[in-house]
Structure formats: structure tokens, C-alpha cells
Point group: C2
DNA sequence: CTGAAAGCGCTAACAC
DNA sequence: GTGTTAGCGCTTTCAG
């Protein structure tokens, strides 16, 4: 490996001068600088980032911790984060918790050993306040803003559900059911509340037998629309689903029963997965700005880093109040409503 | 930050001893070791991985370079790589080239500055021999084995296409068309050749007007099956598609025209994306072992690292012949054939 | 078994 | 403008 000392020797200067030249510091003779830069290029010099980081007391890695990168939602976020980070000379490491709080805890510790510049994390469902008390580096959490002292970013599920429900109402559906995800999921709860509120604001009845919880998958959607439409009670004429997979299950059932969509029955999904936009599916849904989520997260990390450095430099004790950001989802009107 | 010196002071030993104890070296008094480990725990000591790496002259990062992590294929690979790497105390950084060779080149350089332990790369389509000549760290390339001196891993597209074509033939289809992806893609070319070979082996005619190339997307599949079935020539009764998106476009067209699948027409896809397994799609296809691809890549990196270290240690000049691995795809028989 | 000390490659403070 | 030097936190000889 070739180091600044090698260059120094060849250039006949001290290696400190090489360092200065390569880092474009002021107070270096332009000629010397030029010569050194040229030499470095010729010799194929690559700065040893590890050594630089040791001096700086911080690496140029941002750790992204998610339950599972292969989940399209997180994959999209991962991409926007890596792109944003790369623009500022940071590198992003990916870590999967596999939805396991123990693993999450381990990774959190491990990443700090790596002297990462910052951590962006989507906590497992079992996150509780205090989990991040031991984190000593810039941190951004994808979660609902709470009174914690960390930076939070989350999608505004209330607005999303309101958008969806109102759209269904505007289209003239009178009996709108809710096929939700896991009952314990905060996202699900917020959407349910917003759905109920939207109905009430239009003086429509909220029926408990039209509200259900369950797995976020296709089969679950199929089974639930089936039981909704095959019992004796009043039947809904539209349904708002907790995610697109559920909606796909609903569509499949309706298709099998020859119930025409959107004429006889309206369907709204949530998430806008790739397949929802396909002509053969063409599902109306709510899109969540994942791209913005990633970019914003990197922004906040960089902001914290900057703040930290300024504080160290000026040796003060200023307090940076945490950012709490809610991202607005967007209505995608397609064929099913 | 708390360092080994802090621990040493508190334990009344030298910091070298602390290092030894924490690294579980032999030749440390068991009592001392125990005391130090306990102390480290109490004081919340976290090893500074950067400093460790500086000494080791290598980081514990493996760089994964792909065109786009948000592509499900790469997302799956990313997951299996991170999981395999984490088991060996390595961390994986993700880098997107955005299919841009310039960006790829830059990242390749940048990652070596980071002193990464190894690089796993899926090259952009413009890869040519020699691209990796400047790489001085363990490297694994997802590409077709060639005479380069690097480790290669690739899916066996020939076998995959053979599997698909033979299955169509076995099911009794007589006129099998090929709707391929980009004509320049090596994967596409290999599959085309295998398709032709399989037909010939069954003494079936290879018709050039049943072979087409184009975008790997749904619309492209739709348009191409349309022109195949709406012209005057002999019409095929089955089609092998270059990927599942193309097949989805085909299915949509057949559905619109009320052509029953698999009775009147057979369809095979390639890739086994998530949606192919959905009951409403139920596409027969070829699954590629992405999980194995990731695990194997990490294996090879670790193997190279080990080899390198042994060579340094013994100061010899042994040559390690590169691994060239072809992974076997798997036939998924579902409803469309 | 343990301590002293060199050194990994680099930055930055200080001297000239 | 440039050289000298300390030091980032750690591992690893080398003495003892």
C-alpha cells in the first residue's frame, strides 16, 4: 500500500506537507501542491480512510438498521438513504434485525463500536422508550414522535387514512368497512381512528362488525372480505384495507364472485406497492413518500453531526431540540374506486 | 469515550494486559482476566473498531456494489449477504451504481480507500474484462465465469431455460415462442440458446419469427404476445418469457382475449418474483437461488481473506485459483403450464 | 504472566 | 510555506 510518506519521500518534502496538499489546506505553495497531487495520482495513492477516521474520532459510516432489507418498503428507503449519504461522502451499512429486539440491541451496540457517524433505525415492534438511552451518536428513529429526546420521522397515517376514507365517501359508497392489519400496530391504530373520524364527520355510522384486524397478507384479506359478504348482516359496499396485499386478496374474492369493481364495490389499499400500478391490478391506494423518508433521515443525521462538532469546537453546552417529522402520504386514484 | 487505558488505570495493570484479556489471549492470569472483563462490562467499554482496524490494516466491512438495492432481486441478495457476513463479525455496506459505469468505477476506488475487507459486485451491463484489474482486495463478481482471475458467481441460465422449455414440451405444447429480454443481456442470450437447443433435441422447429427481444417489463410482454397472436402466420400455443414481468403482460393479454391458460395456451416465466406465487397469478416459473448466491459470495470473500493472511504469514507466493460457480435454478410448477 | 514501547496512516498544533 | 512531533486507540513484539 502506498502512503503519504512514500509520496513525501519522492517529492522531497515532509509528509505533513503532503497531507496538507492533499487536503487542499491553505498555506501550501501552489507549485508544491500541484506536484504532490500529480505524484499522488501517478503513484496510485488512495487515502487510508481508517487512519483518517481514527484521528477524526468518527467513521464516515452511517448505519441503517431495519428489520429486513429485502422487504420492498425498507429496500426503497435503503436506496434513498445510500444515495443521499453518498452525496456527502458517507457510506451506509445495512443491518437486519430480523424483527428481533435482541438482535436489534446487539447491532445498536456493535455499530457504536464501529464509531459510526450516525444511526438510522426502524425499531422492531417491541420498541419502548429508553431503548435508545445508551446511544451516544447521532440517531434518527422511524417511529411515531413521542416525548423521547431523539429525532423522529414517521409517515402520517392519520392523514393517509383520512384521504382514503374521504375518497371512498366522495365516490358515493355508503357502507365502508375497514380491513386492518395487526391490531397492535400503531400505524394500524392511527388509521383506524382516522377512518372512524372521517365516517363520523360525514354522519355515517361506524359499525364494529365492519372492522377487523389480522395478518397483513393476501389470504387474510380474502378471508375477511368473504366473511364480511357472506353473513346475514348488512353488507358493506366498499372497503378500506390496511395495505395493498390485503386489498389484493379482496380483489381476488370479488373477481371470483363476479362482483364488479368499482361499480358494485369500491376498494382502497395502502402503500402503493409496485404491483398496484400494474394495469391488471390497477388498485387505488395511498402512496407513502419513502424516498423523502430516506433523504430526510440523512439530513437530520448530518444536522446532528454538524451541531455536535460546533458544540465541541465552541465548547458550549447548547441544547438541540429533537426534530419530529410527519411525512404526508399521497392519494393514488386508479381503477378500483 | 472509555478506552482500555481507563480500564487499565482502574484495574491497576498496564493497558497491554487489558488488551490481552479482552482479546482472550493465552498467557493472562485467569483472575486478572476475569477482573478486567468484569470491569469493562461495568464501565460500559466498547472497543474502538477503527483503531483495531488500523492495526489490522483492514476494516471489517464488506462492500456490496449493485446497480440498485431497491430492485427485489438485489434486495434479496443484500439480505442474505448481510446475514452471512454478520455471522463472521463483518458489516456490509451498500452502494448503488444506478447502472452507471462511471459511478461504479468511482465506488470501486472509494471502497478500497475505506480499506474494506472485500468487495462483492454486480457489474453494470457495460462490464468488460480488465475493469477489476485495479482491485487489490478480495473480490467476488456476479457475472458469467470467464478467463479473468477473479472469483465469479452466476446463475446457470442455460439450465434454467432448458428446464422451462422442456417442461413446456412435456406438457404437450407444440409451438413454443420465446419472449426475451434485452438482446444484449448475456443472461438473455444464454437462455435463448438453451431454448433453441431444447427444441432441437425434441425435433421441434426453431422459428425466428417466434423469437423477440425487448424491455424486461409488463407492457413489452403484452405488446409482443399481441403481435405474435394477431398476425397471419402460424401461431404459437405456448411462450417462454425472459422474466416474470413479461409473463405477466402475456397473461394479461390472454385474459383479455379469453384465451384459457393452461388449456389453450401455456406460459412460463423466469425469476419467481413474489407475485408469481399469488393465487390470482399462479405463474409457473424458474426460481433463482438468490439466498445461496449471497451466502456463497461471502464464503468466497472469507476464503480469499484467509488465503491472503496465510500467504502473508508464511511469506510465500502461492496462487489461489479463482472459483467459478454456477448456481442451479429450480423449476416452479404452478397453474400456467 | 505482565509491562514498556513501537507503530498502524493520518491530522493538526506548534515551531521556524 | 514547510518541517517536527504528538497522538488518535489499539495490537503486538520484546524484555523481564
Amino acid at each position: 500500500m502506498i502512503t503519504i510518506k512514500d509520496i513525501a519521500k519522492k517529492a522531497g518534502v515532509s509528509y505533513a506537507t503532503v497531507s496538507r496538499a492533499l487536503n487542499d489546506k491553505s498555506d501550501v505553495n501552489p507549485k508544491t501542491k500541484k506536484k504532490i497531487i500529480k505524484l499522488a495520482q501517478e503513484m496510485g495513492y488512495r487515502p487510508n480512510v481508517i487512519a483518517q477516521n481514527l484521528v477524526k474520532q468518527r467513521s464516515n459510516n452511517i448505519a441503517l438498521i431495519v428489520p429486513d432489507v429485502s422487504n420492498p418498503f425498507f429496500a426503497d428507503i435503503a436506496r434513498s438513504i445510500t444515495e443521499a449519504a453518498n452525496e456527502s461522502e458517507y457510506v451506509v451499512t445495512i443491518n437486519n434485525t430480523g424483527w428481533d429486539p435482541k438482535q436489534e440491541h446487539y447491532i445498536l451496540d456493535h455499530m457504536q463500536s464501529q464509531q459510526v457517524a450516525g444511526i438510522i433505525i426502524k425499531p422492531t415492534v417491541f420498541y419502548e422508550p429508553g431503548t435508545f438511552d445508551s446511544v451516544r451518536v447521532p440517531l434518527v428513529v422511524f417511529w411515531h414522535p413521542n416525548k423521547d429526546k431523539t429525532d423522529f420521522i414517521e409517515m402520517d397515517h392519520s392523514i393517509g387514512a383520512e384521504l382514503a376514507t374521504n375518497h371512498l365517501i366522495e365516490r358515493g359508497y355508503k357502507n365502508i368497512a375497514y380491513i386492518g392489519g395487526a391490531g397492535t400496530s400503531p400505524a394500524n391504530q392511527l388509521r383506524l381512528m382516522a377512518y372512524q373520524k372521517a365516517l363520523q364527520e360525514h354522519e355515517m355510522e361506524v359499525r364494529q362488525d365492519w372492522i377487523s384486524y389480522g395478518g397483513f397478507n393476501l389470504k387474510s384479506g380474502y378471508n375477511r372480505i368473504k366473511s364480511l359478504l357472506e353473513n346475514d348482516k348488512v353488507k358493506p359496499d366498499a372497503v378500506f384495507c390496511g395495505n395493498d396485499y390485503l386489498a389484493l386478496g379482496v380483489l381476488q374474492y370479488l373477481h371470483e364472485k363476479n362482483i364488479s369493481v368499482p361499480e358494485e364495490f369500491g376498494v382502497m389499499g395502502y402503500d402503493d406497492i409496485y404491483f398496484s400500478s400494474l394495469p391488471m391490478i390497477n388498485l387505488s391506494t395511498i402512496a407513502q413518500p419513502r424516498d423523502k423518508m430516506g433523504k430526510k433521515a440523512v439530513d437530520l443525521i448530518l444536522d446532528q453531526i454538524e451541531f455536535q462538532e460546533k458544540r465541541n469546537l465552541e465548547n458550549n453546552n447548547n441544547y438541540r431540540s429533537p426534530s419530529r417529522i410527519l411525512l404526508k402520504p399521497e392519494l393514488k386514484i386508479r381503477g378500483t374506486t
